[in-house]
């Protein structure tokens, strides 16, 4: 078990010393501020260090991508955020960015280029999957051997960007049993938090979206709901509480599952 203390490299400090990391690890607002999702940021950092990936974070210089503003109609605010970020990336000569949040991923990858961005965007799912394929990341298949895992597709990896198989490939490598919900891949039901819904109460209806999704989960009754998005995590974790499933199942991010199987 690795116990060495990790000092997170901050890009401004590296830059001052004339060093350039290969990747910028974009933590995202949820990774920085959401108590539950901070653990995912920590888990993924441990994986990066374990794999000896050359990376750094922006730290206090990081700011919102503007995604929730854009989806809520505030194009002005989105573009101000985007243009600032693009300038910052240019100043630090950042060429490759790793994201853990699919909303950040989508905006960077698909929308920033319209505003002059020129950097490669990589989802943490891609990094993990690549290192597993290359044989550099070896998971302990005993850890989850007796665990039933299902995967809730985040809209912004799945339908938005067609990333369906990579997360499944990773989960199936864990050595446990993998089960699909009835609505999966492009048919998957949203958790209810996208499109800036995360930041507001839902409109009047007869049910919360995350409870509708939670019922899909309960049909397959897994031990673990694997997610890959901070908003999905909030919703599914809430779903577990609302449906009184706390003793029976837990919601973990793919990065957490990998970190755990590596004993990090």
């Amino acid at each position: 078990m690795e116990t060495r203390k990790i000092e997170i490299p901050v890009i401004a400090e590296l830059f001052a010393r004339g060093e350039k990391p290969e990747y910028l690890f974009w933590v995202g607002c949820a990774g920085a501020y959401d108590d539950r999702y901070k653990k995912v940021a920590r888990a993924f950092t441990k994986i990066l260090v374990h794999l000896n990936v050359s990376f750094a974070v922006l730290g206090k210089e990081e700011t919102c991508t503007g995604d929730p503003a854009r989806r809520a109609g505030n194009e002005m605010l989105f573009q101000m955020q985007a243009l600032q970020n693009i300038e910052k990336f240019k100043a630090y000569e950042i060429k490759k960015v790793i994201t853990i949040c699919p909303h950040c991923y989508n905006t960077f990858k698909n929308e920033y280029p319209d505003l002059g961005a020129d950097f490669e965007v990589i989802s943490y799912i891609d990094i993990i999957n690549r290192y597993i394929d290359e044989g550099k990341l070896k998971v302990d298949t005993q850890k989850f051997a007796k665990t039933l895992i299902t995967y809730h597709d985040p809209c912004y990896l799945g339908r938005a960007n067609g990333i369906y198989e990579e997360p499944r490939a990773i989960l199936k490598k864990l050595g446990g049993n993998f089960v699909e919900m009835e609505r999966n891949r492009s048919f998957a039901l949203c958790c209810g938090a996208g499109g800036a819904q995360m930041f507001k109460e839902a409109e009047k209806g007869n049910k919360e979206v995350f409870l509708e999704r939670m019922e899909d989960v309960m049909q397959v009754n897994p031990d673990i709901i694997a997610t890959a998005c901070p908003f999905c995590m909030t919703m599914m974790t809430d779903g577990i509480k609302y449906k009184n499933q706390e003793g029976k199942m837990q919601n973990l991010d793919i990065a957490e599952l990998i970190a755990e199987s590596l004993n990090l």
């Binding site: 997170i8 933590v27 501020y33 919102c64 002005m76 339908r159 507001k200 409109e203 979206v209």
Partner: protein
Amino acid sequence: MTKQIVFAITLLITLGVFAYTISRIIRFFALTRKGFKVNRLGKRLMVTLKVAFGQTKIFRRPAIGFFHALVFWGFCVILFGSIEMVIDGLFGLERSLSFLGGVYDFIIASGDIFALLVAVSIIIFLIRRIFLHIKRFEGIEMKKISHIDANVALSIILLLMFSLLGMNAAYLKWTELAGQQVHGVYPVSQHITGLFTGLSVGTVFTHYQVYWWTHILLIFLFANLLPYSKHFHVFMSVPNVFLSRLEPLGKLPNMENVTREVKLMMDPNAAFAAPATDVPIERFGVKDAEDVVWKSYFDALSCTECGRCTSVCPANITGKKLSPRKVMMDLRARMKEKGPLMLKNGRDFTDGKSLIRHYISEEELWACTTCNACAQECPINIDHPKLIVDMRRYLVMEEGSAPGELKAMFNNIENNGAPWQYSPEDRLVWAKDL
């Protein structure tokens, strides 16, 4: 000769009325805004082959999708025969394309088989619509007229198929009685020539002509009814697929006019460098029908109200007011209402109403999670979320109207660079003692 003249006049009237309808629709399009450029034609062709001709998205619901695919493929094959009928009618010929030999036999035989398959599919559709309670055919936007519209179109298609089979059978019987050579192969209608047993050559020929005219006149009628019906889909869906946005579903189009303003804000010197006189002042986002990009209007005209979008919408499933199908139907209805008035009185004309509020409420717009399930599900690649976000853009940037919590979120991003109220100083707290 009389037949030729009558046919030519009928065809001319048909084409005339159709041209008038289409020219009006084109003028409505001229009221809408520029959107993305239609490029990458090779890729577009591939998408069209896959999604339109391969019917790949309709097969997301395999059982009923299969019957729709039969109808679509049937139409494609039967179209060949319809073109031949027009040539025959105009030039007084009989089975004019039969010189194609084996190819002709194959296409005509396929058409004959498909006529039956389409008829069976249409009967299934009618039974579903009339007798079974299918949830996705209901909803606040589905008025009585929507159901009548659907059933009328289906009934016309059924009559088209019956008249085609009748025509083929009468043709076969007539050739037999008159000792004429048979052109084409008729695997289905050869079994129903018994309908004409005991009739004289002349009577059978009359039957043949009556079926011929019924079939072609129904086609002409159908073609001119379609643009006023949800079944305009028959013409619009293949082009709509061809004109799909090719980018990932997650991408929202950039607003160039906002980019100009933001760049001016960030670099005041640019204000002097780039005079903005050549740029017309344009409303931010979509308030009314004329504010949409042309593709959204194309989407609205192509929609056949199948409701697959609404049936997978997380907001709609959980009882919220939003229905993606309604958004498309509302845009179409609003253009139908305001378009003619704008053509008469100019694009600036206002009737005191707008697409937002009089048709689509703010409550509907704010319920969208932009999950793209609707766009993913649409068999003809209609893009509902783009239009919904365009309307949010109007609400936020022109009216400053948004739910209070979203305004707070905007403030947080502006003031501390995160949607929540945390200090940027705390951005690295998560990494302590790692």
